[in-house]
Symmetry: C2
Subunit: 346 residues, 2 copies
């Protein structure tokens, strides 16, 4: 791989800039030939960079302001100038960096990215991704909250973007795609989903469409790409997080219930360590607002260094891929099929 | 408690009638003074009843037909007469039984119940419930699939019905209610949810409304009643099932990874047994289509005897409660507030 420059919002996230710098250090130890453009308060950053021996690969772009984690997107937009987040995005826009990462305020990041990078030609609405652990490995779910709803045409665009994304990030030649619904039969579900399903089944969009999937199919790894509207995707993602937390609590209780249980847990140590690793949200950290002229990865605000390194890896993989070109080609294919002026019955 | 008669679709479910009879036996061993009206093939049933010593509390209503598990609701409706399911519902309608249970085809059961029992006055759309295990115990989520969507008025009706249901089933004096959304702030989410939220916050409906809850709040037990539309609720429920299954698989793998792990699991035995009990879907089996003139409980088709007994217990609790009266009173309160002709901005 050729040298890559990534743009980093060094001030975004609950424990910035320390966790950000730790994440960069961890990623750089993997031996990737990557340089970083760090946006934030120079005085605060230089010390940490030097202490971690990262001076050779990090350049600081001094920005005095930080977007508050609880700021409303509209207010953040008005005061964007001079913030580390805005500066990070501008570097992606100008081509000084191939992709960007921020662990800051999600709403602000989406709004600023939309404004600065603008939508790709042919995209009606960008969609936010989430990588999801499954029995088979990982899948990507989109949209998980960039929009409140989606019509059939938008769902198809999500399918095109998600398929290219899965190829870039999971390295699968031909990712499988499913539409999230409440039954497997063709006649089930709301109009928009049925129409999108009909088109994905019958038109040549170059997508390996596997039909409808239900909520339980996501974690089972039934498909590589799960397409849904932003409201449903957001609820599903958070419901899964809550359930995983509940079950983890049960397991912890079971393994500390008595002295014997505790001794058992000690013996089962290596297996349980593996379990903790699998359950660690760091391994799937990083969402991307797909459909813009540029790649910006959103890291979880509370991600640790492992998690931040995962988000950087995601940005690097996307930057090295043909994701943007593929999406452009896919969307041309969609528009050639004249999709967008149909009804379920028509 | 006075003597109760429950109506049972003895032929519905993957392992009917054996599991049904085992469930009845298990429930009756709890010492409840309950009689059962069993609908199904007399010849098949009598033997099992006698073998389990249930003759004194079971009466059979001979019905030759069984609704196929994969029959479409419309087709099942046309051929309802003579089926064990239809006969079970008719006994509830006629007042020969205080409530009914079936582990048969869900779509057919909903369609037949709607047709035979009809909607309560003031209810626009019935809603299907699911009991959900939480860190705090249990909560009820509705609608989980009776409808595809819900407007503000319907969401409020779901809140009224769910609140009474939680009181009847969980025995809580004043259950708390939340609206499922994708953020906690009042201005978040689709129009229908924002309008419903505004009304539940500001009008005196006698409901302890706690505002919006997000997907992760369900399993955390943030509220006793989670109100949502049928599409979202169904996706959330199945997503949680899939996630729980994924995590359970991880745990099993961790505890059988090596001979030491296995020994550890052996030592932790009692705690793990507790875990299996908590993760056992039998403990939360049973959904109810709320808003009809009569109570019919849907057991999972694959429920075991434990699970079937749980569904019977649910039917008995509802039959003993003031649930129907309370819902009627609640809906009058809603209609007095003139809800149903408003917009978010109006």
């Amino acid at each position: 791989m050729s040298e890559l420059t990534l743009s980093i919002d060094a001030m975004g996230g609950d424990a910035a800039p320390d966790v950000v710098l730790d994440g960069i250090q961890q990623f750089s130890e993997e031996g990737k030939d990557t340089r970083f453009l760090l946006h934030g308060r120079q005085a605060e950053l230089e010390e940490g960079i030097t202490a971690r021996g990262l001076s050779a690969i990090c350049e600081v772009c001094d920005q005095p302001e930080v977007v508050a984690m609880n700021a409303k997107p509209s207010s953040a937009l008005r005061k964007a100038k001079g913030t580390s987040m805005w500066s990070m995005i501008e570097a992606v826009k100008d081509g000084r960096a191939a992709a960007g990462v921020s662990a800051g305020n999600t709403g602000a990041l989406m709004a600023m990215s939309m404004l600065a990078l603008r939508k790709m030609e042919g995209v009606h609405r960008p969609a936010m991704t989430a990588v999801w652990p499954t029995l088979e490995g990982r899948c990507v779910v989109l949209d998980v909250g960039a929009n409140l709803d989606a019509d059939a045409e938008q769902l198809i665009e999500f399918a095109v973007m998600g398929e290219s994304y899965a190829r870039a990030v999971f390295g699968k030649e031909r990712p499988t795609v499913g539409l999230l619904n409440i039954g497997a039969e063709e006649e089930k579900g709301p109009d928009a989903i049925r129409l999108a399903g009909e088109i994905l089944r019958n038109r040549d969009l170059g997508i390996d469409f596997r039909g409808y999937v239900e909520g339980n199919d996501i974690s089972m790894g039934a498909v590589d790409v799960v397409v849904t509207d932003g409201f449903t995707g957001n609820v599903a993602l958070k419901t899964a997080e809550g359930t995983a937390r509940l079950v983890s609590t049960y397991v912890r209780q079971a393994l500390t219930a008595s002295p014997l249980s505790k001794m058992g847990a000690l013996l089962a140590g290596p297996g349980l360590k593996d379990l903790r690793k699998k359950m660690n949200p760091s391994s799937v950290n990083g969402g991307v607002l797909l459909g813009l002229n540029g790649v910006v990865v959103k890291s979880h605000g509370g991600a640790d260094a492992d998690g931040y390194a995962t988000a950087i890896r995601l940005a690097a993989n996307l930057a090295h891929s043909n994701y943007m070109q593929e999406v452009a080609t896919g969307l041309v294919r969609v528009s050639k099929q004249g999709i967008g002026s149909e009804s379920v019955d028509g």
